[in-house]
Subunit: 755 residues, 2 copies
């Protein structure tokens, strides 16, 4: 999409009040943003006595000292992400922020001089700086190709400036503020309203940047602009580079509006944890700055302490290794080790003193060089840390908490984690993956969500930005573990349709550890078609780990082709059907992501597959075995595919997929189980339980009202799962199965049956 | 190949002398094999004082106690590897050996009873046991499908029997020896000479098994049979299941012959480290047993201490993570953590007191429950451990040390390790990969050797045995980083040809750290064709890690097609040529492994590729970047391929390959450089030095006598590498390059040239 041409929009006139007139008292002495002068005083007396703080200080000092030796470079902006000028300016603000902290803690003026010299150099440059020459962004910055990076710069540089504020003579402060900070703040706000005035992580960065420099400068007008946005409302249907709408008519804007709108009551950020992580930094450091500055309006208390709840939720959205689940656009590998999470954990601990956060801080092995970081390090030294356990959890989506949600089923502990997604679209970074799931075993991805098609900051790969394959593959429904009808993505893959709808939770119940169950429906992804998926972790007698039961019910007004993919990772071990591998790889389809898949194998259709029989597929992933057992119908086909078609630049990983296909069918039900079993060691060469234990998976009863699934192990242990198809309420139900009456109340019932 | 039918061969008559008549004195009291009664006495006084020994003891005790609770099961043999009866009998001998050690150390009779009861059960069963029902092995066992596993059983059970020898009344000993051990030893030797009488790891196990039970039973005849083999010589050209010859006419046999023949003077085992690891266990425990038993003939002193040298060499053949390089048939992931290596390290330390072995033992975190393990644990407690550093190394192959060899170039430390192979065939587990190499960065495989196509002990995969793809792919030349001519493997992939030849070292020089160089030639892989490959690690000004320079010279009597593959692992980042990706994947070829490769992309041949220009390919592997720069000639083609064709059972990993192809050429030279550069973090999202620094790689001079290669970095640093093509001697050479005289002596010369 070509960048939009934005008219210069008249600035709404805020009264240019002085600080003292608005806020409750005199401004605190600098520093006052993320670090305060009383923090500094306390830290200085304890140097050498708090190991985690000391080691963090040593590391940062070595890093900054090494960088200072290279001298200061503020090159003429010219590159996209990954290019030299981009990376240099990024490094500059990171170093300046750290040097500022070192100056405060160590009192060594060389760090203050370094920050001042860099800022003066920027001031000289900024005066006549045109828009960044690279045209790709919907909101171009000056130092960077997009305003977003300029906002990053200002968030960090505000802290650097705050740290050396008292060191500078007032004349130099005035020069910096007039020549650099004020015009810089104006560019990313007044001159870029399409960036500044949204409900979006971009605007969270933009408003925090403007607000933080406003706090340092004691500029009430900038602070108000940051908190409440620009009074503008003429964006029409304009979109950003990711296809997201700029702003809906009549929406509130500004930092507070973002805080109010971005999170669900459960602290879930609608774009998913990768972007939540990215947005948490400005949310928290600006909130911290408002508090440290004793400003008249505060953020932490807002919405029942939403910001701290969001930190808890963000941590919950990670696997056993602390890596975030790849929901929507997300880079694999992003984790609790990120700097943003160090910030989040430290600031949250200072606010709520939750000792489980110390457990996370211990794995991070570093703290912030400020009062929050010091509080964490000190508490760890006095052995207050507790482990951060992650239970099963349901998280609502939407600021009102009624736009679907996300379920995490875990058992036991994090041996298995099933992530089931029935959220809203998730703004411009959302994927078309209603009722999709991913499965994780400790830190391993067993059934993956592809994540995003992007090599962030690797210049050779499309300038480090989103690649075309993010749209043509990663966002498409077939790239997820969910049902795809007629080779078309949910909502036809159209943002304007998808963003109007959300899935709906039927029920979520994890009270009984023998059966943790979640069920949700989606009625809008396809015309005149409703889908309901029920997923459970069931404790079966004789099984080491719970069995995943997956029931996908579809009702449609038309005959359709149904594709149910399972994005397994690992090596195929065995199937119970012959695999008809072509000698030439053909594409699975033409559009909606299918054009990127090669058919690697297909069940031989000449084999009998009577209705009610089971197809079986076992694979090995990180030295464990997994078996998918599927109740098949006559005519069902099994496909093995591999990514790579229509991808001459190798922008996609060559990942595999297994898929069940059912053709020419109206209403139908897919019943699958996934069991984790056994282990392998390439060192002892011992294979334990390489064969799955589920001998039979069957639909025992199917009517308009009820569904009964039987599961039997190879040693004859039987279990049954009953599902009420019509109601999720707590009514009483009765059903006759093989001449016996079964009664239960509630939406489902799980029983183990004697042999 | 069908199993051979072996006639019962008459047993050569050794005089049935008693122990006391042959050996130097009275037999020691039991135990006397890997553990002695004086070891036991010492260990018992120190329990609770040597942490690594105590923790090893605790772990083994917990394991054996848990197993004993399940009761003893000696099922009727019926399965291949991975099946229940196979795994059960394997577990039995492992548990019995450990229970025996626990009995000695803890003095708790329950462990002795457990071993006795198990042995009695085996004795009852063995009496009437037929050959194992599964017919696949060239030498079928009785408990297992192959004699090899029966020999494993006896090596361990000898130790278990030795541990409880004194506990048993003599009547029970006689029953066990008559009904079980003696016929068992006879079956794997006299009744299976094709297994017992070879120079092969199978026979090392077989002879150690017979010798060890002989030592426990004080049966001189068994010991002599073990040490010197059976006096037989009528195997003709019979082969084993891997295609290896059973025995060459006139060869010596027995344990000592294996010891004398299996290792090169540098301690390199011709089959490679995976099988060296496997063979080291019987080599060392039988040697240890001979020593502990004070037997008249000893193994450790033999051949200038070859066994201990072999332990050192085996450790050297691992990457920074301790994983063995995958030379010949080898399972990836096998490492210094294997039980066999715990045995090797402990026994070797007891023999040579090398404190670097303690450094390895520390990473193993466990020791043997015997005198050797105790010695290691005690020395670690008294802080004698030193790090085991791994330098660059040349290892000869062949028992005479003149059948080629293997070079390891490392710099700095193990940041890069280049493994260059110019060995002999490597017996039946050898691959057709003359002059091949692999490249490792710390613990990561950058350019891989595929290893073997086998899922050891995973029953669903061909009974856990070698898969057909091991022959059709893994052994073929194209599966390795070496030159393949006319789509035909070296020696046509024929063992009888390959095993007659070896490559030849030209020179190896790692004295100057600025240029570590190795050069070798192969004149027999193709008719009327000679290949010479020179590989170097060069320190270039301005580069963080050394550059790999790879010069492959070919001279042939005929016009050929040359394929030079690079088995990169990771994600394609960029190429400097357009990639012509077909929408259908076609096979690269029809035979010699080519039938398993799909073409994933090809350089667009319409692009000009003038002779002397460079093609460039950058990939990312485990968050580091690598760039291959190739001097191209007009008409050269670049291919990207992926494994998976003709593999309907997914027996092969879907690994990628990059390949240079030069057609219709007689003599030619391939010049390539590989640089490791920069890094990426998915957490900081920082890409450093994602673009390679080599700006130009060129052949500056080429004549019948000399080759000069120029390398220039993007910052203008130039280096030149001169190679004498005719002689590897120390003569003086002189060459005029661009009007300047360059003089050097020796086979090569590397200089950095001022800008």
């Amino acid at each position: 999409m070509p960048p939009l041409n934005w008219l210069v929009i008249a600035l709404p006139l805020f009264a240019s009040l002085t600080w003292a007139q608005q806020s409750l008292g005199q401004p605190s002495a600098h520093p006052q943003l993320v670090m305060t002068s009383s923090d500094v005083a306390q830290i200085r007396t304890k140097l050498g006595q708090v190991p985690l703080f000391d080691s963090s200080l040593t590391r940062v000092r070595a890093e900054v000292d090494a960088e200072m030796k290279l001298g200061i470079d503020t090159p003429e902006p010219q590159d996209y992400s990954g290019g030299y000028t981009h990376e240099r300016h990024k490094k500059n603000y990171a170093m300046a922020q750290k040097a500022g902290a070192l100056y405060q803690i160590l009192g060594d003026e060389k760090y203050a001089r370094y920050v001042r010299d860099m800022l003066v150099q920027y001031a000289t440059m900024y005066r006549n700086l045109p828009l960044h020459p690279k045209p790709r962004s919907y909101a171009r910055g000056k130092l960077f190709w997009q305003c977003l990076n300029d906002a990053n710069w200002l968030v960090y540089m505000s802290q650097a400036y705050d740290a050396i504020y008292e060191y500078l003579p007032s004349s130099e402060r005035e020069t910096l503020e007039t020549e650099l900070f004020r015009p810089f703040a104006d560019h990313i706000s007044i001159a870029s309203p399409q960036f500044f005035n949204r409900i979006h992580n971009h605007s969270t960065w933009g408003t925090a940047a403007v607000g933080m420099i406003g706090l340092v400068m004691h500029d009430e007008e900038l602070i108000q602009r940051a908190l409440y946005g620009l009074d503008l409302d003429n964006f029409g249907n304009a979109r950003d580079n990711d296809g997201g709408f700029i702003r809906q008519r009549g929406e509130a804007a500004g930092f507070f509006a973002n805080l109010d709108r971005a999170f669900s009551p459960d602290g879930y950020y609608t774009e998913g944890p990768y972007y939540q992580r990215y947005a948490m930094y400005p949310f928290l450091v600006f909130a911290q700055s408002l508090r440290n500055s004793n400003f008249s309006e505060q953020a932490f208390e807002r919405n029942d302490g939403m910001l701290l709840k969001a930190v808890e939720t963000l941590i919950q959205l990670s696997d056993q290794d602390g890596e975030f689940f790849a929901l929507n656009d997300a880079q694999k590998g992003m984790s609790l080790q990120a700097n943003e999470l160090v910030t989040a954990v430290d600031i949250a601990f200072q606010a709520n003193q939750d000792p489980r956060l110390l457990g996370i801080a211990q794995t991070q092995q570093r703290v912030l060089l400020d009062g929050a970081g010091f509080a964490v390090a000190k508490a760890i030294t006095s052995e207050q840390a507790q482990p951060f356990t992650k239970p099963s959890l349901h998280l609502t989506d939407g600021s009102d908490g009624v736009q679907g949600g996300l379920a995490l089923l875990r058992a036991p502990n994090e041996a298995l984690t099933l992530v089931f997604k029935y959220t809203s679209q998730g703004l411009s970074h959302g994927h078309y993956d209603k009722l999709s799931f991913s499965l994780h075993a400790e830190g391993a991805e067993v059934l993956q969500d592809y994540g995003m098609a992007r090599f962030v900051n690797i210049g050779q790969k499309g300038g480090g930005n989103y690649l075309p394959e993010n749209t043509s593959w990663a966002k498409q429904s077939i790239a997820h573990n969910t049902l795809v009808i007629n080779e078309t993505s949910h909502f036809e893959g159209k943002y304007e349709i998808g963003s109007k709808h959300h899935s709906t939770l039927e029920f979520f119940n994890v009270r009984e550890k023998s059966a943790q169950v979640v069920s949700a429906r989606e009625d809008n992804a396809y015309p005149a078609t409703s889908m309901r998926r029920t997923m459970a972790l069931l404790n079966m007698t004789g099984m080491d780990t719970p069995v995943v039961l997956d029931i996908m019910e579809v009702q449609s007004a038309s005959n359709n082709q149904y594709d149910l993919p399972f994005h397994y990772l690992g090596q195929v071990i065995s199937t119970n059907f012959a695999n008809d591998a072509d000698q030439q790889r053909r594409q699975l389809g033409e559009t909606h992501g299918y054009q990127h898949l090669f058919i690697e194998g297909r069940s031989e259709t000449k084999l009998p597959q009577p209705t009610g029989s089971n197809s079986k597929f076992t694979w090995m992933n990180e030295n464990r075995f997994y078996t998918l057992t599927s109740v098949t119908e006559s005519g069902d086909e099994q496909y093995f595919t591999r990514l790579g078609a229509n991808d001459p630049n190798f922008n996609l990983r060559r990942d595999p997929m297994f898929m069940l296909r059912r053709k020419d069918t109206k209403d139908t039900i897919f019943v699958n189980s996934i069991e984790a079993h056994g282990s392998y060691s390439p060192i002892t060469e011992l294979a334990q339980h390489a064969v799955g234990k589920i001998a039979k998976l069957e639909v025992i009863h199917k009517s308009a009202d009820y569904l009964a699934i039987g599961i039997e192990t190879d040693s004859g242990n039987k279990s049954m799962f009953f599902l009420s198809r019509k109601s999720s309420g707590g009514e009483s139900h009765q059903l006759e199965i093989a001449g016996k009456q079964v009664s239960w109340s509630g939406p489902y019932y799980f029983i183990k049956v004697a042999n």
